[in-house]
């Protein structure tokens, strides 16, 4: 297997404390990672842009604070790779698409601002499936990203670049976005930790919208405690995002390391063999993880979540519908690509035809259709009802369970080109992750074992809304068991 994996990973936690104490400088840390990127990035293509200059400036600033005796924030000197659908001021933001050719946002995403205020060093913009639509990062207009465990395989998607950058040791932390599993699934396929926070827990201001009611921004890291740390930094109410939660969350890190005795863990029956297409190996690993929790004192039981069976269909109506509207603004008028025509409409059409890739066009058409007069009730309207049904289902289950467990991805990383020709096959990759997006609950993927193909497997922990602290607690226990 052709792979690009470091010998060991550095913890963001320890980097930050070393930089804070002055033991190591932010610039030194940055250089270490830049060197590795220099050597191996060409094989992986995790980045659309390595922001060397800006990173150096950030790192110098952090070091300057330390010199002046000011303690920088909790991510002091930690290099962070940011998915290229998050606005970085003055730095090209492409969403993996040709249609934003040349666009440099005049403002930065709230998440990016919070990272920098915490002392992080933004090291680059990572590759993604165009406009976050995909599960393999093969839909990028700039070429696919490779899985660092096996360069002939996909890293997953849509945050494939972010997951790969962490797995390849290009950055200890990456930020991704998750609409139907786009953080968790690539994290699972790349053998790293990935979190989708409670909907509204992290600001979406500055995130190029795909599906507004499903999108969330979250961390990808090498450890559960790092994920909780980063989650803490980027979370919080944002007055610029009307959907962001005002109520305070219980601190994410506080229960990590606590034993899981008496916690009630439900194994989602439907995702453990009932639905076609979930690999037996993956199911086996999930059972092993469940057993490990049981040995650690948790009360583990199978639980049925029947609404899960309808989620894929509901998602593939709701997400494209919202996307078809969110992507209308890319019309060649104000920014990005413009291809002229003999009149306005022709210009719009030419621009969007050239600028958008096939999968994006497919979803825009699907979404436009679902929202059309005469079809709204049958498709979008009905999908919203499924969503409510699912929410009731979950609420019911969470009255008896603290967390739920399932596979993250139905399979390990597949070969580049293997699934790209059949969209439906590709869509099934999201089957385990979609439910959390539909109801807005938090979920995490933790690496746990490998398949017979040597590729990583990820286990998913799901928790009720705003219960990240329990989610991290159980995830940490699984992580310990798997190490």
């Amino acid at each position: 297997m052709n792979s690009v994996l470091p010998e060991s990973y550095l913890d963001a936690n320890s980097i930050a404390s070393k930089v804070q104490s002055g033991e190591i400088s932010a610039v030194e840390i940055l250089d270490q990672y830049l060197e590795r990127i220099d050597s191996h990035e060409k094989d992986v293509h995790a980045f659309n842009l390595v922001t060397t200059e800006q990173a150096r400036a950030d790192a110098l600033e952090t070091d300057d604070l330390v010199t002046r005796g000011v303690t920088p924030g909790p991510l002091a000197g930690v290099p962070v790779a940011v998915k290229d659908n998050l606005c970085t001021k003055g730095i090209p933001t492409t969403a993996g698409s040709k249609i934003l050719d040349g666009w440099r946002p005049p403002y930065e995403a709230t998440v990016v601002r919070k990272l920098r205020e915490a002392g992080a060093t933004i090291i680059g913009k990572t590759n993604l499936d165009e406009f976050a639509m995909g599960s393999s990062t093969e839909n990028s207009a700039f070429g696919p990203t490779k899985n660092p465990h096996d360069l002939s395989r996909v890293p997953g998607g849509s945050s494939g670049g972010s997951a790969a950058s962490v797995a390849a040791g290009f950055a200890p932390v990456a930020i991704g976005s998750d609409t139907g599993g786009s953080i968790r699934q690539p994290a699972a396929l790349c053998g790293v930790v990935g979190v989708k926070p409670t909907y509204g827990g992290v600001s979406r201001y500055g995130l190029l919208a795909f599906a507004s009611s499903l999108d969330q921004v979250g961390p990808i890291t090498t450890s559960v405690s790092d994920a909780a740390l980063v989650n803490e930094v980027i979370a919080g109410h944002d007055p610029f995002d009307s959907t962001s939660i005002k109520d305070p969350f219980p601190p994410f890190t506080e229960r990590i390391g606590q034993n899981v005795e008496k916690l009630k863990v439900g194994v989602i029956k439907e995702l453990m063999g009932e639905i076609d297409g979930i690999s037996p190996e993956v199911i086996k690993q999930t059972n092993t993880a469940a057993l490990a929790l049981s040995h650690a004192g948790a009360e583990v039981e199978e639980v049925s979540l029947p609404a899960v069976l309808y989620c894929l269909s509901a998602y593939y109506l709701i997400a494209p519908a919202e996307a078809s509207s969110n992507l209308s603004r890319y019309d060649g008028v104000r920014y990005g690509l413009r291809i002229d025509g003999k009149n306005l409409t022709e210009m719009n059409i030419n621009t969007r035809t050239e600028g958008f890739g096939d999968e994006v066009k497919r979803r825009i058409m699907l979404g436009t259709y679902a929202l059309s007069a005469g079809y709204y009730d049958a498709y979008y309207g009905k999908a919203l009802k499924v969503r409510r049904l699912l929410a009731n289902n979950f609420a019911d289950v969470y009255s008896k369970f603290d967390v739920l467990i399932s596979p993250t991805s139905p399979c390990t990383a597949f070969k580049l080109g293997e699934k790209i020709t059949d969209p439906m096959t590709m869509y099934v990759n999201d089957i385990c992750t979609i439910p959390s997006n539909l109801v807005g609950h938090p979920a995490i993927s933790v690496p746990f074992g490998v398949g017979s193909d040597g590729m990583p497997i990820g286990i998913q922990i799901l928790a009720p809304p705003m219960r990240e602290s329990v989610m991290y607690q159980v995830a940490a226990a699984v992580e310990t068991a798997g190490s």
Partner: protein, 470 residues
């Protein structure tokens, strides 16, 4: 309106709310600034931007709703999707099936009420200028877009199709404007575009119960155009029907210079806006207390002001409407409270004070009216004094004295008449015999003696009474 045909009109009025900032961002809501200077990522719809609701705009919208007797509802913002360069997101955040206000009515000054379907909130678009050719998009060389207006809060007020004449249509808009100004929620200037009117016009036979095909008229920039365009369109429909044809449902553009409507963009199907609830915003749910407070703090609306005056004796609705329209009712009430006869106060306001009061005080008007009533001044003299009061101010008695006005009292006239009877017995006999034209002679004589300071009406009255006594 041609015989046997009934006009059916519904009006859609868009009013810009005069909030300090835009509906979904903190940019200034200000007319006339250099292009693209009041913009930000949100109102430019830049990738990644999100809307945040302006609470003042919502408050204004609810106030207007209550002033229009609407029920204020739990509401949801919706996206109206269509492509046009003046709309940065290529969708407009509006309200669709759950608007802020619904089911109200507007009382016209004449007393007729027009039903209000809904009054909802939405964001305004930017402004495009097409350069070259006629200034319209086809044939232009290029277009410029100014996004200063994009995101400005609008309230769209949709009436039921209950308007039945061009006069009513103009009154409706006028009254709506007056309410907006009273509430202070919009400056409603048609020339600046802070109030825009589209008319939905159809016709039907008198007595017909169902509605026929309607056309929407756009580009109406004044009340006069509103009346003209409705009339043109109605006649166009009637002519079609009389020819055995019928109008096509479409949007038509009013051409002020040509005096006719022209077919808009040719579209076979109605535009499908693919409305769905705006996922970036949460529903608005005003509570009982909020609405109660709005009602309690509602300023006196034009209809209430008219009602107040109508309670007084001898009031004519059209006069009262005019006085209130000109904001002269406060003055009127003051003058009435100072002792002026209501009908006389109104008469003066309507006929003689359309240009304003100048230095005239309500007290002075009351005094003047009393003088006229007591026949101390003739109506001609009264008007002259009024003119002086308006330009110089002061007290009517003083001015009358300065002008040498002393209305001749009835007793004096009676004496003069007796004298004239003695001097002109022949003419008197003829007058009493029924020759009315001799009356003028006697009036003229009285006038001559009194230097024109006797009131003509009074003279006639005395002559007639005297002739009966003969």
């Amino acid at each position: 309106m041609k015989q046997d045909w009934e006009l059916v009109v519904g009006l859609e009025v868009h009013a810009e709310l005069s909030t300090k900032t835009k509906l979904f961002c903190g940019c200034l809501n200000q007319f006339g600034d250099d292009p693209n200077t009041n913009v930000c990522p949100v109102c430019l719809g830049l990738p990644g931007s999100l809307p945040v609701v302006n609470e003042k705009a919502i408050a204004f919208a609810m106030q207007l709703g209550r002033a229009l007797n609407c029920s204020v509802n739990r509401s949801v913002f919706s996206r109206k999707n269509y492509f046009y360069p003046d709309m940065p997101k290529d969708y407009q955040i509006s309200q669709y099936d759950l608007p802020t206000n619904s089911d109200g009515f507007l009382e016209l000054p004449t007393g007729i009420t027009i039903g209000i379907e809904r009054a909802h909130i939405e964001e305004d678009t930017g402004k495009t200028t097409h350069v070259g050719a006629s200034g319209r998009i086809s044939g232009s060389n290029y277009s410029l877009v100014d996004y200063n207006r994009a995101g400005v809060p609008l309230i769209e007020i949709v009436s039921k199709p209950e308007i039945r004449s061009t006069e009513q249509a103009k009154e409706y808009v006028s009254e709506l404007r007056a309410i907006l100004l009273t509430l202070g929620v919009s400056d409603a200037k048609m020339e600046e575009g802070s109030i825009r009117v589209d008319a939905n016009v159809s016709v039907r036979n008198l007595g017909e119960k169902t509605l026929r095909t309607r056309c929407e008229i756009k580009n109406v920039n004044s009340l006069k155009s509103l009346g003209r365009s409705i009339e043109y369109e109605a006649n166009r429909h009637i002519d079609l029907y009389l020819n055995g044809e019928s109008p096509r449902q479409e949007t038509r553009h009013w051409d002020e210079n040509a005096g006719r409507t022209k077919s808009g963009r040719l579209k076979e199907d109605a535009e499908d806006y693919r409305y769905f609830p705006e996922p970036d915003l949460v529903p608005l749910n005003p509570d009982h207390k909020t609405i109660e407070t709005i009602d309690n703090e509602m300023p006196e609306l034009p209809s209430e002001r008219r009602k107040k005056l109508m309670e007084l004796p001898d009031m004519k609705p059209s006069d009262v409407a005019l006085v209130v329209h000109r904001d002269h009712d406060v003055f009127a009430i003051e003058a009435i409270e100072a002792g002026g006869t209501p009908s006389a106060v109104i008469k003066h306001l309507v006929n003689n004070l359309s240009d304003g009061f100048g230095s005239l005080t309500a007290n002075a008007l009351a005094e003047l009216i009393k003088m006229e009533k007591n026949a101390e001044l003739t109506s001609t003299q009264t008007k002259k004094v009024l003119g002086e009061l308006v330009s110089q101010g002061g007290a009517p008695e003083e001015i009358a004295a300065n002008l040498g006005f002393e209305a001749v009292g009835s007793s004096e006239i009676e004496n003069l008449v007796e004298q004239l009877i003695k001097e002109h017995p022949e003419e008197w006999k003829r007058f009493c015999g029924g020759e009315k034209k001799v009356q003028g002679f006697f009036v003229g004589q009285v006038m001559k003696v009194t230097d024109g300071q006797a009131d003509g009406k009074l003279i006639n009255q005395i002559l007639n009474e005297r002739s009966k006594a003969n």
